[in-house]
Amino acid sequence: MIPRPFAYHAPDSIAGVVALLIDYGDQAKLLAGGHSLLPMMKLRFAAPEHLIDLGRVKELRGIDMVGDELRIGAMTTEREVVASPLLAEHLPLLVETARQIADPQVRSKGTIGGDISHGDPGNDHPAVMLALGAHFLLVGPRGERLVPANEFFLGTYATALEPDEVMTQIRITRPAAGSGTCYAKLKRKTGDYATAAAAVVLRMENGVCAAAAIALTNVAPTAIALEADLVGHPLDDAAIAEAGRRATEACDPAADLRGDEEYKRAMAGQMVQRALRTALARCAG
């Protein structure tokens, strides 16, 4: 459990990061919180020649609100997400999600940007980003670009991030007033990946669903959005059950020690139902 040797770089600006990426290309890896990359390096599955530590880039941190948009620096830690009063007020879904990630020490180091950029379908933020319609600000030698979450996750460990780009910010328009949200995660124990999890952002008007976004974690090669056709209907037991049924069909899980494909399909459905019920209870009106 010892990594292979590498050269370590700790730039203090985004420009410095990009310059290093240009120099070293795919020989380099970006180090955010380290809780995904370092274990892979310790197992010697990953052996980058250059490691670019983002930890000293101050401009990658912090949580701001501009109009209705929350802007979260990519190096904001899960711990900071959990503790943010701004997020607690405007984006409690993110706080609820981060609270279910790993454990307190890992959340001290683990970052939201690292969680998203890794392209791991087991990570929790990607589904939440899909449900929230987030955008990611990517910076590289060709400048900045803003990529919507639904165009970002291409496959397992495959994202829209080019090898010479770095994710700098996550932008999320806060859900409309009165929305209810929930992240429901089934896991074997603290620190585990989801057996299945579902993120829901829901808005009701006069007892009828006005908006609903649902996305699933760890039941397909990437996080996936679920189209449940709930808008315009009351969210009764039958509608919730139907949404769950659709989730079981939409997902494409792979068996592991957490369960076989059948179980994971069923749990994807259950987590959708659980998240919908909770989100509904949290909706105003």
Binding site: M1, I2, P3, R4, P5, F6, A7, Y8, A10, G34, H35, L38, P39, M41, K42, L51, D53, G55, R79, A102, D103, P104, Q105, V106, S108, K109, T190, G191
Partner: protein
Amino acid sequence: MAKKTAVSFRLNGTAVDVLVESRELLIHTLREKLATTGPHIGCETSHCGACTVDLDGLSVKSCTVLTVQCEDSDVLTIEGFAKGGQLHALQEAFMQEHGLQCGFCTPGMITRAYRLLQEIPDPTEEDIRYWMSGNLCRCTGYQNIVKAVQYAARKLRGEAVETSHPMMAEVTV
């Protein structure tokens, strides 16, 4: 031999300098170069928390931190808790509430609990179980660890403390 980097940081309040390969993990530097063997290695995959140290005011698992990342940092380990021969309230609490058995997880457990009590001075049992869930213990079943953290919290708040295990409770005369 691989190229090495000089790294300076403060360990339990004292400035230290080490020469390390960039791949060296903080837990190895602490244990093998700085004779700080309180933090232990239990899993190497950042599950067990035996290697927990306090890094710049955050609880971290030092098996998943590179020493080169610690330049100019403040590192606190279990060795930094007792002051002037006086045990820290948490140390006293773990002993009084029987919050340890083999002792292997204890340094990480106490170091984590220290940061928890900095952030939540009056935690409920539920709080403690949630915020201590990054530290595994194979011996105690956690129940007495929860009591120990509550004992320390009371003591740190200046309240009276008493062990849950009175010495003579089962001795009949």
